[in-house]
Subunit: 395 residues, 2 copies
């Protein structure tokens, strides 16, 4: 990912954990940058999430600060105060209002962000602005990630080429102490904030909100999109504008790539699983059913074991609570139809299915044959590795 | 469990799998026996579940037939026909109407119940009536269960002693091929069917529907209660009747014991976990939150690892979607308050919590401090054993 007009990045070491790596990332955004965001639905969000939700109302951003190693979640007033102090320090350094500063933290829950480190690191990160690349930022925002995750796409908007860069961290929906998903998208396109929000909400529904590792939801999950406008295109304000479709596609593409990278880095994951549901009553029902399949421990362990256990898929469809007609149901693994009209297909040969399941890319397909609803979600298998990472890590 | 007046049991070998054990259980019930039931909410239920749902409308039962080794789920018209043929064979042997015959099957999904075996075994099971004990039945209805599960209680109803016996099978909410939960309760009390249904629904809400092993729901889960009336008490028709409370308590006690036994036999379980939620908006919200905690893979792996990871409990409260105030939340492990008012307690000492978590009985407590709602659910930890049982069993 090349540098992006209107974006400068600096990283520094706050020392949120006993390490020497850079764990504080400051991003300076050109004046006039618009912002949109999608935040965790957790009813116990971190103060950073609360702050972003409030600041999003303003629609503009001049800075993003990301802390890795401490999520600051469930830390009461001490955590709120520490986060606010960091926001103020960033605003002072950048020369903007606090409402234009966005923050995100990931790491241990229950330990207030150490205010001395959080504030103290701002100067160093600010001094480093321009010296760090997007690649550096992917590393600095990471925690338990086993690889750095970035994606890029481009679009032509009214004759002007615009770029969309994205970075993400996360390897489970949440984990012990560190696996919140934080995703940040940057573009040099000029996009009005309300329209950017519409596009990001839509893109997120089919990307970050269409993945699951373990069904658990972080207190800190955050996706923010920033549009600097430095490319100089005619500002995009609605789907009817020239190039809006192309920009939307690029944004969606980046979000999808990033989301898939999170699943591929899922804790203990050995297989990448695509679940397609068609023929549901509507898209909403299809997504509920798809997530029921993708979150089922029994489906996920079967995939881990390379077991063509379509009965577990039927079970997961049934438990989803959405309308299903057992006697119309079709189940596929890879390209092979295993069951149709509610019964196993005549002469079902498990061999090609077993071959498909032995690979690292697995496709599960369900057709309910009831209506036009469809959804696609991505997940990973559930393995001994997941148990080891999440159950054994203190022993 | 001693024999129960009005109940005769016979077991026989249908050979639903390649084994020589008894796998077909016939229970003959005295004329006038009333029945109630709670059936899986799966939208893809087995034909046996459909049948029971229909037959429950009649309110009386003369026979129960249980098949182990084949669930007959997702088997289309062949499965429906086979189950109906078995119902008819039982009705003919007992000399009752088909609507008084209840059936349940557990085992492989997707393979129609072999009609020759299912019908052929009826004569042998009928001939054996009276020769099998409740203990024999617990074994004959079992599949992957690692131990047989029964419970009993008694009550005085209007001066008459009545007995409640229960048997159950199950070790996960469902498993590959066999771990549906089937629970059957028998009493010699005289209880009108509508009141028996009221009591069973209530008892189930706090027992069978308050346990979770892996959040997965079987296509075949079935709980049936039969009241023969042979004890000769004045018939119970409402909570206002003398002894109704005592009977309700005995029924509830048996259901709770049976449900807890299922959790203790949870696949790969090494710890028995009680989750108490208090202070929620209402009981319904409390139960949603309790199940969110009990079903969280991250909570369950932490328990397996003996890790006092209260942050994961907060995460699970947050993701439940019910009203919660982060800054009032209290979290306990065993008798120790870990966090209060949304922050870790001053001087928190992990040592007693670690000792508690190293045991086999773990208690997680959450108080939302919002309202009067409370709920208790039971679960087990998530271990390498679960992965091995469900992921490796074909390899």
């Amino acid at each position: 990912m090349a540098p992006l007009r209107g974006v400068r990045i600096g990283t520094a070491t706050a020392g949120y954990k006993a390490w020497t790596r850079d764990d504080a990332t400051l991003v300076e955004l050109a004046p006039g940058t618009t912002v949109a965001g999608v935040l965790t639905r957790s009813r116990c969000p971190s103060p950073e999430v609360d702050w972003c939700r409030m600041a999003l109302a303003g629609g503009t951003a001049r800075a993003l600060m990301v802390n890795a190693g401490n999520s600051n979640a469930f830390t009461g007033s001490a955590g709120r105060d520490a986060s606010r102090a960091q926001v103020d320090a960033v605003a002072a350094a950048i020369g903007c209002s606090a409402g234009e500063v966005f923050v995100a933290s990931t790491g241990v829950i229950g330990l207030p962000l150490p205010v001395d480190k959080a504030v103290g690191v701002v100067a160093a990160a600010h001094a480093a602005l321009g010296s760090a690349s997007f690649a550096d930022a992917t590393v600095a925002i990471g925690t338990t990630d086993t690889f750095a995750k970035g994606a890029t796409a481009a679009a032509i908007v009214g004759g002007t080429r615009v770029t969309v860069h994205g970075i993400v961290k996360g390897s489970g929906m949440i984990a012990p102490d560190m696996a919140t998903m934080l995703g940040f998208v940057f573009t040099d396109a000029d996009v009005a904030a309300p329209f950017l929000q519409t596009l990001l909400t839509s893109a997120t529904a089919h990307s970050f909100n269409a993945i699951t590792v373990d069904s658990d939801t972080s207190t800190s999950d955050t996706v923010l999109a920033f549009a600097t406008g430095a490319a100089g295109n005619a500002v995009l304000t609605s789907v009817d504008d020239a190039g809006a479709d192309a920009f939307a596609a690029a944004l969606s593409d980046v979000c999808t790539q990033l989301a898939q990278l999170v699943v591929r880095d899922g804790e203990g994951a050995t297989k990448f699983v695509t679940v397609d549901v068609d023929g549901a009553e509507d898209d909403r029902a299809a997504k509920v059913i798809a997530l029921s399949i993708a979150n089922s421990p029994l489906v996920k362990t079967a995939i881990a074991g390379g077991d063509a256990n379509w009965g577990r898929v039927v079970m997961a469809v049934g438990k989803a609570g959405e309308t299903a007609d057992r006697d119309r149901l079709e189940v596929r693994f890879g390209g092979t139809v295993v069951a149709r009209d509610g019964v196993v297909v005549p002469g079902y040969d498990e061999a090609p299915v077993a071959r498909h399941l032995s690979g690292q890319e697995v496709e599960i397909g369900v057709d309910l044959h009831l209506g036009p609803g469809r959804a696609r979600v991505w997940t990973c298998d559930l393995t001994h590795g997941y148990i080891s990472i999440n159950g054994d890590y203190r022993s």
